[in-house]
């Protein structure tokens, strides 16, 4: 029974859909055959494979949307920062402009195509066509505009907060911009992932068939 308890904990590492389908069978197998250390390791490796070899459509969709939004939003935020906000406000400190937040998202935004490429590479081994269709469905578009606006406003807000901080405290402008941008990225990805989770349609098919 000790083996089953350990196996039950290890099976929790697997994706939910997989667990719903196979957990009882795995536990029944362990109940009969026991769980050696190499079997426990095999379960851990299996969990990693399930997440990596067959990432859920929800995850891919969320990653896809987040990346597109991030890349496009970064470009617009950068443009706004350079052409709309920056020149009239801080033209007196041209030396600081290269490290202000609108530049940071544009640099990080360059990572967008890389992440997107990796996501698509993974997706082509799985449910890319279905995932793509879901990504452009109306809910996805709504998410796009909401986050597009949020990113643009966030970028401008960060820029102003940075500027105020710089004028008020004399701290380097970049000292507030970097943690702000990181928090922004994490929040964006987290909420986007939750939105993806919320909009995922339930499936009764086997995890593999669900592809």
């Amino acid at each position: 029974m000790h083996s089953v308890r350990i196996a039950r904990q290890l099976v929790r590492l697997y994706p939910r859909a997989w667990r719903a389908r196979y957990e009882d069978e795995v536990l029944a197998l362990v109940e009969q055959s026991g769980l050696a250390a190499c079997d426990a390791l095999d379960l851990v490796r299996g969990a990693a494979r399930e997440w990596w070899l067959r990432p859920s459509p929800m995850f891919l969709e969320s990653l896809f949307l987040t990346t597109v939004i991030w890349a496009v939003g970064s470009g617009v935020a950068s443009w706004l920062g350079s052409h709309v906000v920056t020149p009239p406000v801080i033209s007196f400190e041209a030396g600081q402009r290269s490290v202000l937040p609108p530049r940071l998202p544009s640099l990080l935004g360059l990572l967008g195509p890389v992440v997107l490429f990796l996501a698509l590479l993974r997706a082509t081994r799985g449910p890319f066509p279905k995932m793509f269709k879901r990504a452009v469905r109306p809910v996805g578009l709504a998410e796009f505009f909401v986050w597009f606006a949020a990113m643009t406003m966030g970028s401008i807000g960060m820029h102003w907060a940075n500027l105020v901080s710089h004028l008020g405290t004399g701290l380097p402008a970049s000292s507030w911009g970097i943690p702000g941008a990181v928090a922004w990225i994490l929040t964006l990805n987290g909420v986007q992932f939750l939105l993806g989770a919320r909009t995922q349609r339930p499936s009764n098919r086997s995890p593999e068939a669900a592809q």
Partner: protein, 108 residues
């Protein structure tokens, strides 16, 4: 026939456990524990639970095996028609390769 061969190869790291599972199910339905026992007898390999159910997941997803109504928590699986075709093709290929290898050894 080439396509069937490629499909089994597409299972990547699961192709060998998958082949062993198909062979194990060739003489009738079995549940997970019976499969591991049979595979150990036939091939000398003991498949861990993660490897076994990773391969079962993919075989079931491709329609090469199918679950039968569960007796308790142990769900038996059986080979489908498509699974039989894939297995037969793979075994034929292996037989042809083994024959060539044996011939070359004899000629050497």
């Amino acid at each position: 026939m080439k396509k069937l061969h490629d499909e089994l190869q597409d299972l990547g790291r699961f192709s060998e456990p998958a082949l062993l599972i198909l062979i194990s199910l060739a003489d009738g339905p079995k549940h997970g524990y019976a499969m591991t026992q049979d595979i150990e007898v036939v091939s000398g390999q003991k498949l861990g639970p993660g490897t076994l159910y990773g391969a079962i997941t993919r075989l079931e997803g491709r329609g090469w095996i199918e679950p039968l109504p569960s007796e308790d928590r142990r769900r038996p699986y059986r080979l489908t028609g498509a699974g039989q075709r894939v297995l037969k093709h793979r075994l034929d290929t292996m037989k042809a390769v083994a024959k060539i290898g044996a011939q070359r050894l004899a000629d050497a």
